[in-house]
């Protein structure tokens, strides 16, 4: 028994090491670099000096762009939840032996394999006031009479980028939720139907709880999407107009490479990391506290 345990432990170590090594090199060490840098004043001309909480102080007390970006990022996360809900609806529709289900599934997922830069170019074109489809349709339907410059508008820019993002990631949520739906044993539904439970009760009592691991995965994906949205925002609006579409991720990048403030960008990265930890932890609790596992 002991031999087996040690052998198993060695196996675990062996199997985890390659992946861990990659994450160590490309995520953990860089994060540590960021943490250290966030407490320093970086300059290309001389070695970094220690400044304690200065960067964080500026970020929290003297930077409205940070708060704007934070707010936009939270809105963006919220939109991910809506996207997941929509995807759940679609997944339920294409579930089971519906004729042509695979065709529908493929069509919905088709937008995900696209390069985000390409998606941004495509949607920027869709939103164009002259040659774009959206203004054209709205005007033809009589909903508006003057073209709206969606991406140049303080009120519409963020929503417009969110629509583009949702279009791109809907398929991904759908796939994850479909896999989860497929894994629910049908006999649970049978038993419930026999007991006389109506459709919505079956949904709330059986489907949703059994989907918890998949929903948690969707939350993680939502976070990944907010990173991938970098390309979307960068190409569609570059954070503008003003900072109406600035996300934390774009703000970090601009501080690092636009204004060469690596120290401040590091502080922003750490702040974003903490925010996402909090969100992930909330998702973990909402998923019943057993992240990623199926019982």
């Amino acid at each position: 028994m002991n031999v087996r345990r040690t052998r198993q432990a060695a196996l675990v170590a062996c199997f985890l090491t390659p992946s861990l090594l990659i994450f160590l090199l490309y995520r953990i060490l860089p994060l540590a670099w960021n943490v250290v840098l966030s407490f320093q004043a970086w300059s290309p001309l001389h070695p970094p000096t220690w400044v304690g909480w200065d960067n964080y102080d500026e970020m929290l007390n003297d930077d409205d762009v940070f708060w704007q970006a934070l707010w936009n990022t939270l809105i963006f996360m919220g939109s991910q939840a809506i996207g997941a809900a929509l995807a759940l609806g679609i997944a339920l529709l294409v579930n089971s032996d519906l004729k042509g289900a695979s065709v529908y599934r493929t069509i919905v997922f088709l937008s995900y394999p696209l390069m985000t830069v390409a998606v941004a170019i495509i949607w920027r074109w869709m939103y164009n006031e002259r040659g774009g489809l959206i203004d054209y349709v709205l005007r033809q339907l009589g909903i508006i009479h003057q073209p709206i410059a969606f991406l140049d508008s303080f009120s519409w820019a963020l929503g417009s980028t969110i629509v583009a993002n949702t279009w791109q990631v809907l398929g991904f949520f759908m796939i994850v939720l479909l896999t989860g739906l497929q894994n629910i044993p049908p006999h649970l539904y049978e038993a419930a139907r026999v007991d006389g439970a109506p459709g919505w009760a079956r949904f709330l009592r059986i489907t949703l709880p059994m989907l918890r691991p998949s929903l948690f995965l969707c939350a993680v994906i939502g976070i990944l999407n907010s990173f991938a949205a970098f390309d979307l925002v960068y190409v569609m609006t570059n954070g503008g107009p003003g900072h109406a579409t600035e996300l934390l991720i774009t703000y970090i990048y601009k501080q690092a490479f636009g204004e060469t403030r690596f120290d401040y960008a590091a502080a922003l990265t750490v702040a974003q990391f903490m925010l996402l930890m909090a969100l992930a932890w909330l998702a973990h609790r909402a998923a019943g506290g057993n992240a990623g596992a199926i019982e």
Binding site: L11, S19, P30, T106, R130, V220, A280, G292, A293
Partner: protein, 273 residues
Amino acid sequence: MTRRETTLLGVRHAVLVMISLVMLTPFYWVLKTSLTGENIYAYPPSLLPVRPHLFNYVDVWYLIPFPRYLLNSVIVSAIAVSGNVVLNAIAGYALTLPFPGRRAMIVLLLSCTLIPFQATIIPAYLITAHLGLLNSYLGLALPLMSTIVCIFIFKASFEAVPRSLIDAARIDGLGDVRILLRVLLPLSTSAIATNVVLAFIWSWNNFLWPLIITRDADMQTLPLGLARFLSYMEDTTGALYAFVVMVLAPGLLVFLMAQSSFMRGLTAGATKG
């Protein structure tokens, strides 16, 4: 089927068709713009291509070394995908076994997803330089050779295999590795397919990393080509959109070829339980 069931089915199809149209419209709009002969900025835009022509595509083909970039993207993605399937499967399996610190390891891995690439550019570059992998295919693929989401997909798939099967295998005397290879993996085709598709998408579409670590023009991948074209041409003509179509086509084609087994793998899961 009863009349009510038929109506419901009809409604279901109608909704799905509408959703499909909405999802496909942007594709169509870009395709139309790349083919149309009108001034694309004139209002109102026409819904069908006017005097369609393929000249934009010809322009693009001659403008950049498309085949070379395509080859680079293929090689990098091949490395990334194969690395992913192997590394993620074994890591996912390891997470299903009991070991001290398992909880902490799961938390650690999940926290790694919270670190965006943009924040890691300079350290990642320096590390890759130390490894001597700048400007190489392996260097391009390395950061993406294992992904946490996919590890968890494997883990979830392995855990969904009935305990009875695993116990039976252990009684037969199969060791952990054999259990993975003979019992778990064959039942996890959907997870493998998902892994392949996602790893392919993420490595194929990666833009910022190749930008940073390739110096030679002929080591560049396809997304970089798109970006270069974008700036040079701006949005003046349909040529930009022809280029978008050409960049998206290979990825989409590969996906469409793989999607049947990818999607089939999903329905196979319905027999579990």
